[in-house]
Amino acid sequence: MQTSLKKRLEIIIEMPAVPRLEAVLEKAGVKGWTVLPAKSGRGANGSWSREGQITSAGRMVMVLVIIDPAVLDTVLERVYALLERQIGIVMVSDVQVVRADRF
């Protein structure tokens, strides 16, 4: 099947900052994304778990964004500007998709 190369951006970010991240993505012209829940984790800022929590502070989710390699740098820079202040990490990898025009 005919596939084309895209970039897969994964952003693990603290929950209160998700609306801001979405605003950043929207502003950068990103057409779609998916937010995946996370259960628990550990990092430089300590460990966390969502069990029993009633506040969104100190908890992470993972935002998955498939974008065109052409816009990767712009998007990455803006996302990174946000992540310099909020807790979170970014990863980038390669991915093949079928309907290239959709991303």
Partner: protein
């Protein structure tokens, strides 16, 4: 009732004991845990019930000036207590300016769960507060944050950088005001007010009868979360900061007592205002500060508010505040 009777009545009540059970379960590393969705639902239920009941009481009582006075008192307390807290932290601990402001915001604002537990204890201790105290609680959530942002001052402004300019204090204020638990508290309050005792009749098995039992389950969760938070993060809490988590509630309660007496509150409502002033937010403020003051380390303020001050207020503070409130208003035996 002397203070020991009050303290004992509070201590051996099921809700407090379930909280202690939660703490113990966390400390013995049990895997007992309440799913997140349930914890959230329990807190929504409690907020809804307490708001609704407050509104129904408003409908039953008569609206007068003391309501306005109490709300004003609450706003003033919430706006000014952070200054005191911030000063004490800067003087007695080594936490930085930003962290001190963040912690001060938590202590100026209120913990709705502590308020709910205190309302329940008040009934238990035969000194129920008045319905309008729900409105006071709602009014006290946000002002502290604005003060704290001013206190954080230039440091925060610098780090916010170019984008930070868009982030006005007003927008933070709005964000807090649209916080789910506040909207629900105020909304349920008005619904109770509109439907009055007749509305209550229809829903009292759900909102009144099972209330204390649900509170038990919720406080079990709070004990688990507080205990695990302590286990995870006690290292970030220096003794000076822990001390602050223990004496700041007392200072807040005294400030609340003075202000409450000024506006002429009676024993039950005074005890609630003292509890509000003594309590530290761990739902709305932590989330809001992650956006308004992201440089502050959430582990410190959250662990302090939920791991130290909440248990202190729940177990020792609330009976103390109500005993004092009865004493200074000359209520009871």
């Amino acid at each position: 009732m002397d203070i020991f009777t009050l303290a004992e009545a509070n201590l051996i009540s099921p809700p407090i004991l379930f909280f202690v059970l939660g703490l113990i379960a966390a400390f013995v590393r049990s895997d007992l845990s309440i799913p997140e969705a349930i914890a959230k639902a329990l807190s929504l239920y409690l907020v809804m019930a307490i708001g609704f009941k407050g509104g129904v009481e408003m409908a039953a009582g008569d609206l007068n000036w003391s309501v306005g006075g109490a709300i004003l008192a609450g706003i003033v307390l919430s706006a000014l207590l952070p200054i005191l807290g911030f000063g004490l932290l800067m003087l007695t601990t080594k936490v930085g300016r930003i962290d001190a402001a963040a912690i001060a915001a938590h202590y100026g604002s209120i913990s709705i769960v502590t308020f709910i537990a205190a309302s329940d204890a008040a009934r238990f201790l035969d000194t129920p507060g008045e319905g309008f105290m729900v409105a006071v609680a709602a009014a006290m959530e946000a002002p502290a944050i604005v003060t704290a942002l001013i206190l954080a001052g230039s440091a925060a402004r610098a780090s916010n950088g170019a984008e930070g300019h868009g982030e006005s204090r007003l927008s933070v204020f709005k964000e807090i005001a649209a916080n789910g638990s506040i909207v629900l508290l105020i909304g349920a309050f008005f619904i109770g007010w509109i439907t009055g005792p007749r509305g209550m009749e229809a829903v009292s098995p759900f909102f009144t009868d099972i209330f204390r039992g649900v509170l038990c389950l919720f406080l079990l969760d709070m004990g688990l979360v507080a205990g695990r938070g302590l286990l995870r993060n006690w290292r970030v809490l220096k003794p000076g900061v822990i001390g602050f988590g223990l004496y700041m509630p007392l200072i807040g309660a005294l400030a609340g007592m003075g202000t409450g007496l000024l506006v002429g509150l009676e024993a039950g409502s005074l005890g609630l205002l003292m509890t509000l002033a003594a309590s530290a937010s761990y739902i709305a403020v932590p989330a809001a500060l992650r956006l308004a003051l992201p440089e502050a380390r959430p582990a410190i303020s959250l662990t302090l508010a939920l791991g130290i001050t909440f248990p202190f207020n729940l177990v020792a503070g609330i009976p103390l505040y109500f005993w004092l409130a009865r004493l200074v208003t000359g209520t009871g035996g």
